[in-house]
């Protein structure tokens, strides 16, 4: 599951997930029927509107061993919100199918560490990096330090702690628009902490949060770029780079 935001706006992150998983020997497919996990509707209160989205989600991922997604938030939505939507539909068949599907959904770092059993993915990234644990990966999925364990094994990386790392960046889906002033106030504090680390790159496991904090850093001309965890883990030493 590439996620709707990566599909439309950050296809490179999707390509990096494919590259990384194939490098690790995983057979990767992209079922074209997939769209979105439905979280934008659910979190705004539009449950009826999320029902057709859930139906297409369940259909698209039928028959696969694992549904891997580069997003703590979308994985969290599948595991913790899909049942809510299925119940709303009143369709017991959908409910059972959705429950079965959500058990096969993994956030990227969970899949790498728990299913593949790897922490060293053979990546090379000689830059100063700080990592922001996004709220849904941290508190909804409890991925713990899996992303950091993966990053620590990246060759050449200079990984530095982010002050106040566990605090929300202020994105929050439609919160970023409905409560934009508060969202920006929270994001500005997060961006200040990022700048304090002296990192060149801010890494996180959710493109949505990165779009928000990255948009602030860009507006501030902070000289810090944002990358998804998959974008870093896909990098290899120059001699081994495959041109894209």
């Amino acid at each position: 599951m590439v996620t709707c935001i990566n599909d439309a706006l950050f296809p490179d992150t999707g390509r990096n997930v494919v590259r990384l998983l194939r490098r690790l020997g995983v057979e990767v497919d992209f079922p074209q029927a997939q769209t979105c996990c439905g979280q934008p509707m659910v979190n705004t209160g539009y449950l009826d509107e999320a029902v057709p989205v859930l139906r297409s989600f369940v259909r698209a991922f039928e028959g696969y061993d694992a549904v891997v997604t580069p997003s703590g938030s979308c994985a969290g939505s599948a595991r913790h919100q899909h049942d809510l939507v299925a119940r709303r539909s009143g369709d017991e068949g959908l409910r059972a199918a959705s429950r079965e599907t959500s058990q096969r959904v993994y956030e990227l770092s969970e899949f790498l560490v728990d299913v593949l059993g790897v922490e060293d993915v053979g990546a090379y990234f000689p830059h100063r990096v700080t990592y922001h644990p996004t709220c849904h990966s941290l508190r909804m999925l409890a991925v713990g330090d899996r992303p950091l364990r993966l990053l620590r094994h990246v060759r050449g990386i200079d990984l530095t702690d982010l002050p106040g790392a566990n605090e929300c960046c202020g994105f929050g889906g439609t919160f970023a628009m409905k409560n934009s002033d508060t969202s920006v106030a929270m994001g500005s504090d997060k961006a200040r902490h990022v700048r304090e680390t002296g990192a060149e790159v801010l890494v996180a496991g959710d493109r949505s949060c990165l779009t928000h904090v990255g948009g602030l850093l860009s507006r501030q001309r902070a000289g810090v770029r944002v990358m998804h965890l998959a974008d870093v883990l896909a990098q290899t030493e120059p001699s081994k780079v495959v041109a894209s």
Binding site: V2, C4, D7, A8, L9, F10, P11, D12, G14, R15, V28, F30, P31, Q32, T35, C36, P40, M41, V42, N43, T44, G45, Y46, D48, E49, P52, V53, S56, H80, L84, R88, C135, H136, R139, N166, E167, C168, G170, G172, G173, T174, F175, K178, N179, S180, D181, T182, V184, A185, M186, G187, S188, G214, G215, L216, S218, R219, V242, A243, S244
Partner: protein, 475 residues
């Protein structure tokens, strides 16, 4: 006289003003940061904290599921112990009962223990309308009352004030309602506390009627419990001849032993202390000791409405510790006034809509959206209220309450998104317009986003288009 929240604007509007107030931001960041660190330290030292949380949640769930039986038992125990029990279905009825009791004793003033239930029902204003002064005796509530202000936090209602501001309030307002502050008052905390002690002492000694709430009401023994830090509450509970306590019907604990769990959970979660300095317990009337006339007003005021909400009823487990406020990144930026209620922060964002119902006023309907759903509140809650899940449920209730009329632009957009996202083919077609969308947003401006944030560059092709073209093969 304290201000009122009536007529407060919707959350985003109130929050916009609050986040623009740099002094407020500074006061709040300092105060919440301090209390967060204290809580984390004392919670971290309890090995079985998670078991305590589970026990607390289970006891309260039992109370809520069998509330009818527990309430009857509480009434019996209280009556047997010599207390008079009153039932109030709403704020107006509760205020009338308290006012009638004070009037029956010809009281022109009452002294008050810090109490959320009496704030919730607007008791001070109701008593003032009957010519009865209600004096707040909790230090922070006194600051709020003297400053003609509104509380902005459940536990520390003057959290938005710094000590220089408090000195100003004491110096200018104390003399109008009693003993004035000393002429040479400074902003040293000890001097400020001393001024409050002297000011309050004469009120404690004079008042015939005390008014309180209760942190817990033990059904088995008919005991009410007040947990506090200053001892001013105990003055109000012991010195007056008459004591009236307004207690929400969800405050029940079935047995005396249950207190064991909650007296561990509450102080550590609230003030970040292992044990609070004062815990007062009274069971009805004790002859020749303390108030000889004891009344208990059991308050509904929307609680049975909340109880009927299958997802939302867990909010009634709340013990008003404020841990969720202190860890909330939204509350830290906006402060409590933006929530337009005596219950601010994450718990306020669910409790107010649950007590009042949604779909009636825009202010209440805006509260479930005053959160990023980051989950810090759920993690901190000592009775494991899953606030993010309740927020999502209440958002769906807000949306459902507005279905059927002329749809808002958001509802139209969500319907269109739902239809588009029901099929990969339709989404693929829509994505061809993504670049156009971003360029358009840049040109005409999507102001809520772009006022402070840049938009990303649109990609040359979507992931979907790339996969269709290459099959995911990069060679």
């Amino acid at each position: 006289m304290t201000g009122t929240f009536v007529g407060m604007p919707v959350f985003p509007k109130a929050a916009r003003e609050a986040v623009g107030d740099s002094q407020l931001r500074r006061n709040l960041a300092h105060a919440t940061g301090t209390i967060r660190a204290k809580r984390a330290a004392v919670v971290g030292e309890v090995e079985e904290w998670e078991e305590l949380r589970l026990a607390g949640a289970a006891i309260k769930e039992n109370v809520l599921l069998h509330l009818d039986e527990h309430l009857v038992r509480l009434e019996e125990s209280l009556t047997k112990a010599g207390a008079t029990v009153h039932w109030a279905s709403d704020a107006e009825e509760a205020c009338r009962i308290v006012g009638d009791i004070a009037a029956a004793h010809d009281a022109t003033e009452v002294v008050k223990v810090k109490s959320m239930a009496t704030q919730e029902i607007g008791l001070n204003e109701a008593l003032a309308a009957r010519g009865i002064d209600a004096w707040e005796t909790d230090l922070a509530e006194l600051i709020v009352q003297l400053g003609d202000d509104l509380s902005s936090h459940i536990l520390v209602p003057a959290i938005h004030r710094n000590r220089a501001e408090i000195r100003e309030i004491f110096a200018s307002a104390m003399g109008e309602v009693g003993r004035p502050a000393p002429d040479d008052l400074t902003d040293e905390p000890a001097r400020l506390a001393e001024a409050a002690r002297l000011h309050l002492r004469e009120k404690f000694l004079r008042a015939k009627v005390g008014v309180s709430g209760a942190n817990f009401a033990v059904a088995e023994t008919g005991s009410l419990v007040v947990v506090e830090s200053e001892g001013n509450g105990r003055m109000c509970l012991t010195l007056p001849e008459v004591l009236v306590s307004v207690v929400g019907i969800e405050k029940i604990l079935p047995t005396w032993d249950d207190l064991d769990v909650f007296l561990q959970l509450l102080p550590r979660s609230a003030t970040g202390e292992r044990m609070n300095p004062y815990t007062s317990v009274w069971s009805g009337v004790t002859p020749d000791d303390g108030p000889q006339e004891v009344h208990v007003v059991l308050l509904d005021n929307g609680r049975t409405r909340a109880l009927a909400d299958e997802v939302g009823r867990q909010a009634l487990r709340c013990i008003r510790c404020s841990a969720c406020l202190n860890v909330c990144p939204v509350y830290e930026r906006t402060g409590g006034h933006a929530y337009g209620s005596v219950y601010p922060g994450p718990i306020g964002a669910i409790l107010n809509p649950l007590l009042k119902g949604v779909g009636h006023d825009d202010q209440t309907d805006s509260l479930p959206y005053a959160s990023t759903l980051c989950g810090a509140c759920f993690e901190a809650c000592p009775v494991r209220i899953d606030i993010p899940s309740v927020l999502v449920e209440l958002r769906s209730q807000v949306v459902d309450a507005h279905r059927g009329g002329v749809p808002k632009p958001e509802a139209v957009a969500m319907k269109a998104a739902g239809a588009t996202l029901a099929s990969g083919r339709r989404l693929g077609l829509a994505e061809r317009l993504a670049g156009t969308g971003i360029r358009l947003a840049r040109r005409v401006g999507a102001r809520p986003w772009t006022q402070a944030r840049d938009l990303p560059d649109p990609p040359a092709e979507s992931f979907r288009a790339w996969w269709r073209r290459t099959g995911g093969d990069e060679r």
